[in-house]
């Protein structure tokens, strides 16, 4: 993770304050004003949110905690204009905290979104139950508005839709249209974090939703489908807001290998159909790092490499099924050698791989007498190529590896 320059950030915070006083119509300029003053001639990148008429800096703020208003204030001062919260976060404390901050700011300098859930959803099917009435939804919206100390939100989402039928559920469509008609929401949308392509298509088909808040990240196995759905939605005039761009923050389930979050954010925003992303900043370092993407979306080689590692790590992992073993005429311990390969290219610990190879007591070129490899990997690894590659480590002096 990149270390940020706190002095630079403090400077930009102070300078950015003036930006927050501008009107929504000139949000672009607001972002640019602070960015231009605080960085060397770099402009804030902004994009249009579908057909809503709103134009946003590409980095926004998904507010996930209620205990640090200073972070939100710093974000505003740093040029962030779009804040995303939800009715259910911390039983309302999240919206209340934001309300306390927003009350002192010009309303048209902010783009505020909240998410209100249908009352009853079946976790397994994603379908809405009978209790999910328009009335109950609108009552929750009124509570949210009171907490936010606002007369309206800029974007009102139906929260957590994971099935097409839920997206098209008549009571929800009725509720959000009613909220818009009553002036309690300028624009309406849905949020989706599962079955995204199906739900996004439903949002398009509804003719009601104007914005989709979708999970999208470099680790999604179905990323190409999500990206295609996003393209369709953008083509249809919907604004796309990205969430879960950090893919949980870790490469592994054990949460020991942190993801390069800046790279992950850039990856998603490099799709021009994504209007903005709402990373959940938890501290000033994260905030400054994310805000910096507003002016610099280009990925470095190191960032590309970090993401490639994350994407391919599962491809490096030998599951140890030993189905390959009978196919090797030399009886090589293929799973162990594959482990060494993962140490080298997955964990970047070649010294560990070298130790393992030494323990295995392999010949210098284990595959030298075979013209064609007869061992087959169920995951499709090129076994001979990997063995040849990693066994070269055995000849490298250990001091070059540490």
């Amino acid at each position: 993770m990149n270390r940020f320059d706190r002095r630079q950030f403090l400077k930009s915070s102070i300078l950015g304050t003036s930006g927050a006083l501008l009107t929504a119509g000139s949000l672009t300029q607001a972002g640019c004003a602070s960015a231009q003053a605080s960085t060397t001639e770099k402009k804030t990148i902004t994009r249009k949110l579908g057909k809503t008429g709103i134009e946003l800096p590409i980095v926004s703020f998904g507010v996930m905690r209620a205990d640090n208003p200073a972070l939100v204030r710093a974000a505003i001062d740093g040029g962030v204009v779009h804040f995303d919260t939800a009715h259910g976060y911390q039983r309302g404390k999240n919206e209340e905290m934001l309300g306390e901050i927003f009350k002192d700011r010009p309303r048209d300098s902010l783009v505020v979104a909240t998410k209100v859930p249908p009352v009853e959803t079946d976790n397994k099917t994603g379908l809405l139950k009978a209790g999910s009435t328009s009335k109950a939804f609108l009552e929750k919206l009124d509570i949210s508005l009171r907490r936010l100390k606002l007369d309206y939100v800029d974007i009102l989402y139906v929260h957590g839709i994971t099935a097409r039928d839920a997206a098209l559920y008549p009571a929800m469509l009725e509720a959000i249209q009613s909220a818009k008609k009553a002036g309690k929401a300028r624009h309406v949308g849905l949020s989706v974090h599962k079955n995204e392509p199906e739900v996004i298509q439903a949002a398009i088909d509804s003719g009601v939703y104007e914005v989709v808040l979708t999970s999208v990240n470099f680790k999604q196995g179905h990323y190409s489908q999500v990206r295609a759905a996003i393209a369709n939605a953008a083509e249809a005039g919907l604004g796309i807001v990205a969430m879960k761009t950090m893919a949980g923050g870790f490469h592994d389930k054990e949460r020991t290998k942190p993801i390069n979050c800046k790279a992950a954010l850039k990856f998603v925003l490099n799709d021009p159909n994504v209007t903005t992303a709402i990373p959940g900043n938890t501290n000033f370092d994260h905030l400054a790092m994310n805000i910096s993407v507003n002016q610099d979306l280009a990925m470095t080689d190191g960032e590309r490499s970090d993401l490639a590692l994350g994407k391919s790590e599962s491809g490096l992992y030998c599951q140890g099924c030993e189905n390959c073993a009978p196919g090797c005429p030399k009886g090589l311990p293929i799973p162990e050698i594959m482990r060494a390969y993962m140490y080298t290219y997955g964990y970047r610990q070649p010294e560990l791989a070298q130790t393992l190879l030494a323990e295995l007591g392999l010949p210098e070129e284990p595959c030298s007498n075979c013209s064609q490899c007869t061992a087959q990997c169920v995951k499709g690894f090129d076994i001979a190529e990997r063995i040849s590659d990693v066994c070269r480590l055995a000849r490298v002096p250990s001091e070059f590896l540490s």
Partner: protein
């Protein structure tokens, strides 16, 4: 976080061993007379908690969420009550997430370590578990059902009933009951300040007090130095006893003290000149904590 976990394990570890909670041979939730129980087979883990609580999951993960079990109770009157049993790594983690969602003016009950009942909701803390019981229906029968099921679940879990001991050190005058929080990560927005206990006060102007357990004096000193790196020099003044008054560029005026392994302070009151006597009392109380 690490410090918090260690602290909690030292404090509560022995108690956890004696609990019947988590025995694989028994169901996650108890049978309750008059109610039909259905337990969802899926056990939600950190990688799919989003499927149940969407974006709220992020905060649960900061408090070392382990797993979630869901159950539904239904009675002959068709009252349906949902139970969410969130298990965290330690009692301190569970207290932390519970405290993030609790308001001091709730109607508190003697259930678990502490619990409250509002319209259609009964939530409580029990050892390393945060239990949420709710219904989308309304009425007295629902409220009674929440309470009955709450007590059954509490009794069934049979988990230790104590709040983090360090909270006892906070002075009593002006203290807002049930405002105590444990913030696992990035206290005041600084990534290096983890594991902070925070209590709100209403004495004249409202303010908040915090304590960070640095594990040992050296680590507390390191935290102090790191924090001071973030404060402009002109924003640091010494109090009469050597402690500091700071002008934090993000968090405003903060009075900061330290004693042994603890770093502590007050913030949020921009009008008052000093709360040194308050901090002194807090330091004295921390000194006698065992």
């Amino acid at each position: 976080m690490k410090r918090g976990c260690i602290f909690a394990l030292v404090l509560f570890g022995p108690l956890l061993v004696s609990s019947a909670f988590g025995q694989p041979s028994r169901p996650a939730l108890p049978e309750v007379p008059g109610w039909k129980l259905t337990i969802e087979e899926t056990i939600y883990k950190p990688d799919n908690l989003w499927d149940v609580i969407d974006g709220a999951a992020d905060l649960f993960l900061e408090y070392n969420f382990v797993d979630l079990r869901l159950g539904r109770y239904m009675n002959v009157d068709s009252v349906e009550i949902k139970v969410e049993l969130y298990r965290h790594a330690t009692t301190l983690d569970a207290f932390g997430i519970y405290s993030q969602e609790r308001y001091p003016d709730y109607h508190f009950l003697e259930v678990g370590v502490q619990g409250y009942r509002e319209k259609g909701v009964l939530n409580f803390l029990a050892g390393p578990c945060y239990v949420k019981i709710s219904s989308v229906q309304a009425g007295d029968k629902v409220q009674d059902g929440l309470l009955a099921i709450g007590h059954y679940v509490d009794s069934y879990l049979d988990l230790p009933k104590s709040l983090p001991g360090i909270l006892q050190a906070f002075p009593k005058p002006g203290r807002i009951t049930n405002s105590e929080q444990y913030i696992a990560k990035s206290f005041l927005g600084y990534g290096f300040l983890s594991g902070s206990y925070v209590v709100s006060y209403e004495e004249g102007e409202p303010f908040k007090s915090f304590v960070i357990d640095g594990e040992n004096p050296g680590q507390a000193q390191n935290l102090l130095e790191k924090y001071l790196e973030n404060i402009p020099k002109e924003g640091i003044t010494k109090l009469s006893n050597g402690w500091l008054k700071l002008r934090d560029p993000h968090n405003g005026s903060i009075e900061l003290g330290w004693k042994e392994k603890y770093l502590f302070g007050v913030y949020g009151d921009e009008k008052r000149t000093s709360r040194l006597s308050f901090l002194q009392e807090l330091a004295d109380n921390l000194g006698v904590l065992k």
